[in-house]
Symmetry: C2
Subunit: 452 residues, 2 copies
């Protein structure tokens, strides 16, 4: 029932294509969904993909194009004339997919494709949608929906729905508008099934409908749909007129990307990359953070340079430089990750920043005490120098406290001044903690080695 793409399957289909065996290829494709075929396309070269494409019927071909990766689609459409793109694909797509596909083409090609769309109304819808920023509700919505007038009876409503439903893949909700096209609410299938046919829509409308404006950010759209468990969300203009609807399948991608973006930033990857991207893209995504790390390393080298004489006198201190730096980094990353996820999920609660820091101090205090005690016991047994033993434990405790507070405070601060707090996690906070951590360690060392 579900399809799992395997290496063997790809090898088989490549062999079929090479043999030019249209019948076998067609049989294979017939059992698959558009998204499966799009996955297969990813693994083929352009000629192989074209061979398969010629075997698909119109509707399916359009669906496959809509499901393709942006890069693959661009590569594929570049080779086709605008008229073919318009007639074979765009005419059969939902307006939101069509706007996305056309939006990815270069400007000249865009005009060419738009001029060949037969249905003027559809072309208008697509141009409307292309005007919205892709990270807003306008950029996510489709124009296709079922819309009934509040003054209709249920009978009229059913008749009109029959006409409208031709263009809509999934109904989900039936939207109710007034004579000025202003969104008034929804009618559920349940209510329609249970009501008398002579009832007016007005009498069974559920006015308690959540909607967003075209300029609402896609993050906010995602969090509203997630919070209220919505499958579709109507989009209105500033007058309250119904313009389109956003369906959950498009928003699942936004939710997932958002969660993944935080992870990528924490790992020091500055753009959305996949293992299959080319070497150049992978390098570009990774070098910015590595440069920051390198700069941090040079600064740390200079901090150590300031303490060169101390280290010459008490060389045992050198052994624990990496431990102090690493622990500062680890604690800082933990602290900031908890805050970044809390901010993303809106689970921070309403404690003041001060209270949050106090709590973090509590956690840091327990962790710091435990870890310092452990390393104290270790050093008592392995080192002759009491000064070293005390220095390492005191510094470790201080560094854990510092890194916790710092890792909590920085993302909260960034969030307050409206910079993405995920920036604070990963290499940035690790590097700053390295510098401060070693400075604390070497300062404590200088003092304690003089005392003992």
């Amino acid at each position: 029932m579900q399809f799992e793409l395997t290496k063997e399957f790809i090898d088989d289909i490549k062999a079929t294509i090479e043999a030019g065996d249209e019948i076998t290829a067609k049989e294979t494709l017939e059992e698959l969904h558009a998204v499966d075929i799009a996955e297969i396309y990813d693994e083929l070269n352009i000629d192989e993909a074209k061979f398969l494409y010629m075997l698909l019927d119109g509707e399916m071909a359009a669906d496959v194009i809509a499901e393709l990766d942006e890069d693959d689609r661009e590569r594929f459409l570049k080779a086709l004339p605008g008229e073919i793109i318009a007639r074979q694909f765009i005419d059969k797509m939902d307006s939101d997919d069509a706007a996305d596909v056309i939006g990815d083409l270069d400007e000249k090609k865009q005009e060419e494709v738009l001029s060949h769309i037969e249905d003027i109304e559809q072309a208008g819808d697509i141009v409307d949608l292309m005007a919205y920023d892709e990270d807003t509700a306008g950029g996510l919505m489709a124009k296709e929906l079922i819309k009934v007038n509040e003054n209709w009876t249920l009978t009229t409503c059913l008749r009109e729905m029959r006409k409208q439903v031709e263009n809509v893949d999934e109904v989900y909700y039936v939207y109710v508008v007034d004579n000025d096209r202003i969104l008034k609410g929804t009618v559920s299938l349940k209510k329609m099934l249970l009501s008398d046919n002579k009832n007016k829509i007005k009498d069974i409308v559920n006015a308690d409908v959540i909607s967003v404006k075209t300029e609402t950010s896609s993050d906010e759209v995602a969090s509203i749909m997630e919070k209220y468990d919505l499958v579709a969300l109507p989009v209105i203009d500033s007058l309250g007129r119904l313009l389109g609807r956003i369906t959950i399948d498009d928003v699942v991608d936004v939710i997932k990307e958002e969660a993944e973006k935080d992870y990528q930033m924490a790992s020091g990857i500055s753009e959305d990359v996949e293992p299959t991207d080319n070497i150049w893209i992978l390098t570009r995504a990774r070098i910015p953070w590595l440069l920051i790390g390198l700069l941090g390393g040079v600064l740390v080298a200079n901090v150590i340079g300031v303490f060169e004489i101390d280290l010459g006198t008490f060389p045992e201190m050198i052994f624990f430089i990496p431990l102090i730096a690493a622990m500062g980094g680890n604690v800082g990353v933990q602290s900031s990750a908890i805050i970044v996820q809390g901010l993303a999920n809106n689970t921070l609660g309403f404690e003041s920043m001060f209270k949050k820091l106090i709590k973090e101090l509590g956690v840091a205090g327990i962790n710091g005490f435990l870890l310092s005690a452990l390393i104290f016991v270790y050093n008592i047994f392995t080192s002759d120098s009491l000064a070293l033993t005390v220095t390492v434990s005191a510094a470790l405790f201080s560094v854990i406290i510092f890194a916790s507070v710092f890792g909590t405070f920085i993302p909260l601060l960034l969030n307050k001044i409206r910079i993405d707090p995920a920036l604070a996690t990963g290499p940035f906070i690790t590097t700053l903690n390295d510098i401060m951590g070693l400075f604390i360690y070497l300062m404590i060392g200088r003092i304690l080695f003089t005392v003992f």
Copy 2:
């Protein structure tokens, strides 16, 4: 239209509750959705929450309970007798929510609640659902759905749907079964609206329906619904009989948690925590990785100890110890994060492990060359020692190559032997790279300082 919880709102409502002003409180609640009220409950103490709860009508009270955090719900239900829980909440809930709520109670309370459910069939459904592991399709599904027989006419079908729809919140799909309750497909609302009432369901059924078995893992359920853009997914038993359906709102949580779990592991947090959790839980989630980091630091200290004499002779090498360690860590985390996300999203492609490593070597080669060249130029200008300059650059290049390969190989290997590859990212890989990186650095230093 949407509600945003603010500190002011909470203060207001607390004041209203303290004044015992039921009318104002009721007015406030009436404008809100169940999930909003659940959010408010999170901020109140148990007495304040009870005051509000008494003002809600039955249906709403049940919805709020279903939306509450597990902890809050447990705290709240503990105070109520089983009969009240059954009559006031469970009777009004969907079977999946009811099974979750009852499943969280202790065993004695579970029996007490179950014995007070009036509808024997519903009690049976709940007990059935409670038997499934919560991380499987069985654990995610609800029993409520619309089911029609393939031999019915459209007219019969509509009449039967009217009866069934009473218990179903959202319809989404109408499922078609045969006389043995075996799932045969779906009929869309679209088809029903466009077909003649005398048609049999058999004639308009869409047999191409994707389903899962009760034991399918929730991760797989999520990836199927995401891939095929499904809003609801039917669940069948091993004979193919329709048992229930999973709706997208429950799966969005699974998708999000999965993406967040990888981030948490990469940040060294070993269980799912929120900033509002107590100090003990937050500490417990963080200490395991810190212990590993501490152990790594001790090992690094021993590695450095082996080179104590070299460092005494060439003390400039000390300055760059943190830089080498940090860069190894950063590169390793980047490499493993790309692989972990690729594995999670199934975007790794079908290149062999060998090819992936070769590609990673390419990226590492470019990054390594650039960064080594930069630090070379820096050292030429700031250091008198050519040996140091060459050592740092050669070691940095080697460490970047090693950390890349290691960061790519370990998660791929873990995945192959079916251990969660996310384990490899974060503190674990950082620590191992620290140790190996410093060993490489100090070895190269020993050789080059002898040569120059």
